[in-house]
Symmetry: C2
């Protein structure tokens, strides 16, 4: 990674700090979600999802225009994705939880792209592992409860015919200079890396390509994916398609407190298949705490919940915002100790994972219903 690329889809600098998000978003040319847009979302969706209220989804491109169109009867579709690089952490589900909310509230189709080709090109995962991750990750994601009739899981290797045939149309408009400057690629990188962004652009216009008329696309993603979609927005109008709109999230802090959760570091997060004992141990032993060093200090000075992994995880999983406010206040003021905060998170997490697990068998049985198929859009 070049020194001047603090965020690329494949690496995030260790020095990356919370305070940089707005700066980065602005440098990338995205807009911060403001009060007016929140009002609009509330009007159309009936509520503003807590992830927006908590500033986790904090920026956007043309979301206002997309919602204007929606008000006038123009349905959009959602596109998000995952590179199947290993077992999933809780944090990996955040964008999908939010996407599910969008799907439910706006009653729209959703394409979930699984970029197994990307992982093959960028990592040294064996093909057998890649297959396993792909299946498990899809199962994890779908266990959130996506509607089969409006959800389209597009595994890249199963759909490379469409992806390559449309991908070269995108590729024709992207120079090597561009991917070097946008992603920090070098001449020593393989040509699969140079080409890949073309493939990730395709789902942003595939419904328009299939149906033969422009269908607006909204892409929820974490900010590290922004370079891809910045390129999509440049190229798609040249192919006769609309620029996709986007809604952009921050990274979910890792268990240890900063940066992006990694799939390869055992202690960087809580895996969806961790058992209760492991979850408790990880929370107690590794979870970055905003609390004080001693119980006495904590009682007297209170914690900083904003940087506390346990509190943040609790907040993510608890839909009742009044309850969350109360916990925030009690923790901040020293009424709740670090250990107690961790136990609250522990209960929330295990309850959440139980719900997920209870759905897995049914999803597994109906996996084919979610498969991407162009004919489902006709």
């Amino acid at each position: 990674m070049a020194d001047d690329h603090e965020i690329t889809p494949w690496e995030v600098s260790n020095t990356f700090q919370e305070a940089q998000y707005e700066k980065i978003a602005k440098e990338f040319g995205a807009k911060i979600i403001d009060e007016g847009l929140r009002e609009e979302i509330k009007y159309l969706a009936g509520e503003v999802h807590r992830f927006i209220q908590y500033d986790i989804f904090f920026a956007h491109r043309d979301l206002d225009q997309l919602l204007d169109g929606y008000k006038k009867g123009r349905k959009f579709y959602l596109y998000t994705g995952r590179g199947p690089s290993g077992k999933m952490h809780l944090g990996h589900l955040i964008p999908f939880m939010f996407t599910k909310w969008l799907q439910d509230r706006f009653d729209v189709d959703l394409i979930i792209q699984i970029t197994d080709d990307e992982k093959y090109i960028f990592r040294d995962t064996s093909e057998a592992d890649l297959k396993k991750y792909t299946q498990n990750n899809i199962l994890d994601i779908l266990s959130l409860g996506f509607k089969p009739e409006k959800t389209h899981v597009m595994i890249d290797s199963d759909n490379s015919n469409l992806l390559y045939n449309y991908g070269i149309r995108v590729a024709k408009h992207i120079t090597a200079s561009t991917v070097k400057s946008v992603f920090g690629l070098k001449d020593s990188d393989n040509i699969g890396k140079f080409f890949f962004t073309s493939i990730q652009s395709v789902p942003a216009f595939i419904v328009s390509a299939i149906t033969g008329h422009n269908v607006p696309c909204l892409i929820p993603y974490a900010i590290d994916q922004d370079p891809h979609f910045k390129i999509s927005r440049d190229i798609l109008p040249k192919l006769g398609y609309e620029k996709p709109a986007s809604i952009i999230s921050k990274f979910i802090p890792s268990l240890k407190g900063s940066g992006k959760m990694s799939s390869s570091d055992e202690t960087s997060g809580i895996y969806l298949d961790d058992d209760n004992k492991t979850i408790k141990r990880k929370l107690m032993k590794y979870a970055f705490s905003g609390g004080r060093d001693t119980m006495e200090e904590q009682r007297r000075l209170g914690a900083n919940p904003d940087i506390d992994f346990a509190f943040n995880t609790y907040r993510m999983l608890e839909p009742d915002m009044t309850k969350v406010s109360k916990i925030y206040e009690e923790y901040r003021s020293g009424h709740i100790l670090s250990g107690e905060m961790k136990m609250l998170a522990y209960e929330k997490i295990t309850e959440f994972l139980e719900t997920l697990n209870s759905r897995r068998d049914a999803v597994l049985k109906n996996m084919d219903d979610y498969r991407f198929n162009p004919e489902r859009f006709l």
Copy 2:
């Protein structure tokens, strides 16, 4: 094209001369076909095709090893291709005529890759034209009389699933530096160009990939395609496949005398769909002649048949080498005049094209029989 790249698959320098072939072949690391190898071919094929005797197919890589294996019972398959960039010239058929001979004499399968994706990426052809060229070019090639049961036409856009899924395995081992130095690509070139060579490598191992055991591959091609297969030979062993062998031809001189025939210059060659009047006019008006300026000089000094378009075309299309030798001598010694040589070529060409045309309807009707389908190899 960089100044130091006299031959790439997409451009050939105007200053390129016949005398440079051996030098280029050696620089590319290919071997000249020697007497020993000709003997071997004669032993196995029953004859040495005139294109080898005429030094049109003049170089190779590992053809000796491939034939050794064949003697021991290891069947190989053939792979060649065409970028559908326009109407086909006579010269474009030369490698296919030779490939058909190989197929017949060794009784082997043949994959003909039609790189419509390449033409899309490298040229500004409209998609409608590209479709038309693809269909017409395939029809032209198949009219040479390939056996449907052993011939597999692989249109890239119809097979991009396989091509991309296997192509990324190749791409992972090729750096941007390599394609820059081998093809003269620059940072200002599009990323489709950077990636493309991966796609052209795939047919060189696809039969091994499909069947699960190594099947040797022999690729007949014109020397401008060598950079692609030099790369294939570097990468395939890293993927567990054998290096493909190759047999390499010179360019067929254009009507006007030098360089590579172009599909875009009306007068650079004789189109397969030129009518007899056009063919006669092109030969008389544009064909580069090795004859003298006046009839008197020609009678006295004789012609240089080696650089004469009419003679070379006649030679290419006349299987009777004794007859060709006789004409060569008569033309060289001044017994035949330029105009007479052109008429001899004219008769040969029109007769050849009539045979081709008489087969087109039957081929068109059975087009599907030739379609590439992995299951045909199982």
